[in-house]
């Protein structure tokens, strides 16, 4: 069974923001909601590195653990999805997530946030596949079409890779072997545990 994972190769990421733009455009994500963001460490200094961060689809997802209404579920291939009909917008998942992935359309007084929105690995949600409801609530469902997340597929330097964990680990291992240096599977330990 495939286990879907994201991997961002920090040696290749050039902070072009194409993944961010692709995600926003593909899923028509509203203003203020950022399913994916690029973070630059040591910005403007020697050794600057950037990483594209979104929901990592954790094995033991903290968001799912703290959700008071239990609205998260994991697909058989390891994609963490949630049901916006159940979500009450309490914000707990945002505080629990190590990657800052959960987003909300509002931030107003009296704790009104609206329904949580996050990266779906381009796998939609619990609505019928390719229905209008799924499109408006969760965005497009590329995985059901046999395609991988758009951010990764259109990454110009192939820094951001997504898909079956074995396949992308293999691709990354070949790269490291060719170019030398130490592997940096950023976030994998936190998201997928030690036994990866």
């Amino acid at each position: 069974m495939a286990r879907m994972k994201f991997l961002c190769d920090a040696e290749r990421c050039i902070e072009c923001q194409a993944c961010v733009t692709a995600c926003k455009n593909e899923h028509e994500v509203p203003w203020g909601v950022n399913r994916r963001r690029v973070i630059v460490m040591n910005d403007g200094r020697p050794g600057e590195k950037s990483i594209s961060v979104a929901c990592m689809h954790c094995t033991d997802a903290p968001c799912a653990a703290v959700c008071p209404v239990d609205c998260f579920y994991t697909t058989a291939d390891g994609i963490v999805l949630h049901d916006k009909d159940l979500c009450i917008g309490c914000g707990y998942c945002f505080y629990a997530c190590p990657f800052g992935a959960p987003q909300y359309p509002q931030q107003t007084a009296f704790g009104v946030r609206g329904k949580m929105d996050k990266c779906t690995f381009c796998a939609g949600g619990p609505e019928p596949v390719h229905s209008q409801e799924e499109l408006t609530k969760y965005g497009t469902n590329r995985v059901e079409e046999g395609k991988l997340p758009l951010c990764a597929e259109m990454c110009a330097t192939k820094a951001l890779i997504a898909g079956d964990g074995n396949v992308i680990a293999d691709i990354y291992r070949k790269r490291v072997m060719t170019r030398g240096g130490r592997p940096q599977t950023w976030g994998w330990q936190a998201a997928y545990g030690d036994d990866i």
Binding site: D70, C71, T75, D83, K158, V167
Partner: protein
């Protein structure tokens, strides 16, 4: 005494109804998600798309 008992049981029934969202009761089993179903989350769905996604990863992420 009697009216008090009736009132109490009415309140109990009402609060049970409120708790249950006025009907449509789903019984929970541990580890089984019973929110609105997602057929794409099932083993079969993952199995079905696994090969396509694997090929896709090979095609999209390896250097050409």
């Amino acid at each position: 005494m009697m009216p008090k008992k009736i009132a109490l049981s009415a309140i109990a029934a009402l609060s049970l109804g409120l708790l249950a969202g006025c009907g449509d009761v789903t019984l929970y089993e541990p580890g089984v998600y019973k929110g609105s179903g997602d057929e794409t989350a099932s083993e079969e769905a993952a199995e079905r798309r696994a090969d396509a996604l694997r090929d896709r990863a090979q095609a999209a992420h390896t250097d050409r």
